[in-house]
């Protein structure tokens, strides 16, 4: 794990959330969120169920747009310095830059190759050589290439649970995003598969930023450089992971981390 204090941020935050309120209809889900995610770092979002961490994650690639009546009511979300709610934002281009991996691994019932190539295909890439290269690169990054290179045309659903989730990760990074959002990517996996994915996350931080929602606090310690603790739609504390787990500033954080949460 890289120590954030020893390598100070050299550039502007890749994702910046400013004074954001978010609500589902009349129900306020997130209140006054301020968060600056640094480039090439892993940021974990933790907190009890229903605290809004997944909602916050989905604000960053506007996946909440799919829910009618859900909207940002105040503040702004900036990715690479650009407000993602600006009128000239092309959602498909935003999501090309901000990839996402879901809790439940959900490869398409197609071949392994077509799963990984999906993102490039929808962005109009049809050149076989380009696709082949991208598929290989993505599978290598997801540590799947050696296992799967001989059966790229096999059905994706024939893979094990851990392989399926890594395939979903390969699919998400095939378009070479700058930010990868991960929504509890290991919650359905066994410890060994979880370990493999955590290793991947470490490697990813060399090339892009990862924001991961997790229920597992040990996982947050293992993979992240920064941790944000949310409670009831509010961001209680945001600091370097080591600092937060050793000396939490807020009482609420401390009791949550200790497990004496009421």
């Amino acid at each position: 794990m890289s120590n954030p204090s020893s390598s100070p941020a050299t550039s502007a935050p890749i994702v910046e959330i400013r004074d954001m309120d978010f609500s589902y209809g009349s129900k306020i889900a997130l209140h006054d969120i301020q968060l600056a995610v640094e480039r090439r770092r892993v940021t974990a979002l933790i907190g009890p169920s229903g605290c809004g961490k997944s909602t916050l994650l989905r604000c960053i690639n506007r996946m909440n747009d799919r829910v009618p009546s859900a909207r940002v009511t105040r503040g702004a979300v900036l990715v690479k310095g650009k407000n993602i709610h600006d009128e000239d934002v092309d959602l498909t281009q935003l999501r090309k830059q901000v990839g996402m991996v879901f809790q439940k691994s959900n490869p398409f019932p197609k071949s392994i190759y077509e799963n990984v190539a999906y993102g490039l295909r929808v962005h109009g890439e049809n050149n076989v050589e380009v696709l082949d290269d991208a598929v290989e690169r993505a599978l290598r990054s997801a540590a799947l290439w050696d296992e799967l290179k001989d059966r790229l045309q096999a059905h994706a659903l024939g893979l094990s649970g851990g392989q399926q989730q890594r395939l979903c990760i390969a699919r998400a990074i095939a378009t070479q995003p700058d930010v990868l959002l991960m929504d509890e990517p290991c919650s359905a996996l066994d410890p060994i598969a979880t370990l493999k994915i955590e290793e991947l996350i470490h490697q990813f931080a060399r090339d892009f930023s990862v924001i991961i929602v997790t229920h597992n606090m040990q996982q947050a310690v293992r993979v992240s450089d920064y941790t944000a603790f949310l409670h009831l739609g509010k961001l209680i504390e945001f600091s370097p992971t080591e600092l937060m787990f050793e000396r939490p500033k807020e009482k609420l954080t401390e009791s949550y981390l200790r497990g004496t949460f009421s």
Binding site: T92, G99, M100, P109
Partner: protein, 397 residues
């Protein structure tokens, strides 16, 4: 206190007691349910056996090629039956009648003519196949489009519920009403491009070289196919929508998160996986479209027609006609298929059974047609099932 009770009575047999009334009711109910089911099965078997017994001898032959080729490859015609004085009957068509009468000479006793019962049933087979192809194509296109709209685009609310209700109501409309609708809408007032609008045209819009005239398509395959399409649309829309909804929600989310547009998502991540189910729904549509009589009575079907839809008299090409002229005429001939009226199996069966005097000859033609009709519907459905199997193997989750 307990000592006053006979101690043996609760111990004797706690499961005994007079249960016979309850048991009898159980048995009665079980047999009622069982017999109802058996009755339905028996009726189904009876129908199939009846048609097999009556229809098989007409369609099949004991010697090579084992099928009644004449019955399957000839157009219907009037049957002439000539009796001699010994009571022997000879069956022939209108052309053979005089010859046989001459041969019999003095021995000739009587000649019977039975309309529609001679020849074969190629005309109705072709007509029904064409109507099914047109109606299922139109209904699948319109039905899948509206199912996609309802399932993927329309926001859930009162408006969508109203649309659904309207579609369900469409399913309840009696088929003869569809027939009259088709007559009014497609036969008499649908738009066509023509150089000279008919007098009955509702109105015509001049388009420079030609006119867009709302004068209808006449009685033809196209009118009948569109009318039948509306009969089967509710089935196809409802089933297609269910199939689309059955595709896991995660596929849509993932696809959108990868930067796909809504249509790309539907086209690449939803529709392929719903296709097997949608094809299943078209099986029901095929059977329904092939079987309906009322909607085609006024829109497409004739009781009798002595030509197949593509046997149209076109001006003969000059001997030195180029390849293009030949190609052009083939296209014209092909398109002409859809603007011809046809015979259809259900209407042919109705004609034989109810419109002409009943006798052994008409009954024969009638059961032969019914048998072939069932076979045709079954094979169309089998094709659909086979396609679905293949697609299912490819897309399963």
């Amino acid at each position: 206190m307990s000592a006053s009770l006979p101690s043996s009575s609760p111990e004797a047999n706690p499961f005994a007691g007079n249960q016979s009334a309850v048991q009898r009711r159980e048995t009665t109910v079980r047999w009622l349910l069982r017999l109802s089911t058996f009755f339905i099965v028996a009726v189904t078997v009876a129908i199939v056996m009846h048609i097999l017994v009556k229809g098989l001898p007409i369609t099949l032959r004991s010697e090579f090629p084992y099928v009644n080729v004449k019955f399957l490859t000839e157009l219907p015609g009037t049957l002439h039956v000539i009796f001699d004085k010994q009571g022997n009957a000879t069956e022939t068509d209108v052309n053979g009648a005089d010859e046989i009468k001459k041969q019999l000479g003095e021995n000739f006793r009587e000649e019977k003519t039975i309309s529609y019962s001679g020849g074969g049933i190629l005309g109705p087979i072709v007509g029904t196949a064409l109507l099914v192809v047109v109606s299922v194509s139109v209904a699948l296109f319109l039905g899948v489009c509206s199912a996609i709209y309802l399932s993927e685009y329309a926001s859930k609310g009162k408006r969508v519920e109203m649309i659904r209700l309207a579609i369900l109501n469409l399913a309840g409309v009696p088929s003869v009403v569809f027939g009259l609708f088709g007559l009014g809408a497609f036969v008499l007032s649908a738009p066509v491009l023509t150089d000279a609008p008919l007098e009955r045209s509702l109105f015509s819009i001049p388009l420079g070289l030609t006119y867009l005239s709302f004068q209808g398509w006449d009685t033809c395959v196209l009118s009948g196919g569109f009318t039948l399409a509306f009969v089967i649309l509710p089935v196809i829309i409802t089933a297609s929508e269910q199939c689309l909804q059955a595709v896991p929600h995660g596929f849509r989310e993932t696809s959108m998160a990868l930067g796909a547009t809504r249509w790309q998502t539907i086209w690449r991540a939803v529709l392929p996986f719903a296709t097997p189910g949608i094809l299943t729904s078209s099986i029901l549509g095929i059977a329904r479209a092939a079987g309906e009589t009322a909607p085609i009575m006024f829109t497409a079907a004739l009781a009798f027609k002595d030509k197949l839809p593509w046997q149209k008299d076109l001006p003969p090409l000059p001997a030195d006609a180029g390849l293009f002229a030949h190609w052009e005429q083939s296209v014209e001939r092909f398109l002409g298929i859809f603007t011809e009226s046809v015979q259809a199996l259900p209407y042919h069966i109705y004609t034989l059974a109810a419109r002409i005097p009943h006798n052994e000859y008409s009954e024969r033609a009638q059961y032969g047609s019914v048998f072939v009709f069932l076979l045709l519907v079954a094979s169309l459905a089998a094709t659909s099932i086979w396609m679905r199997r293949r697609l299912r193997g490819k897309y399963k989750w």
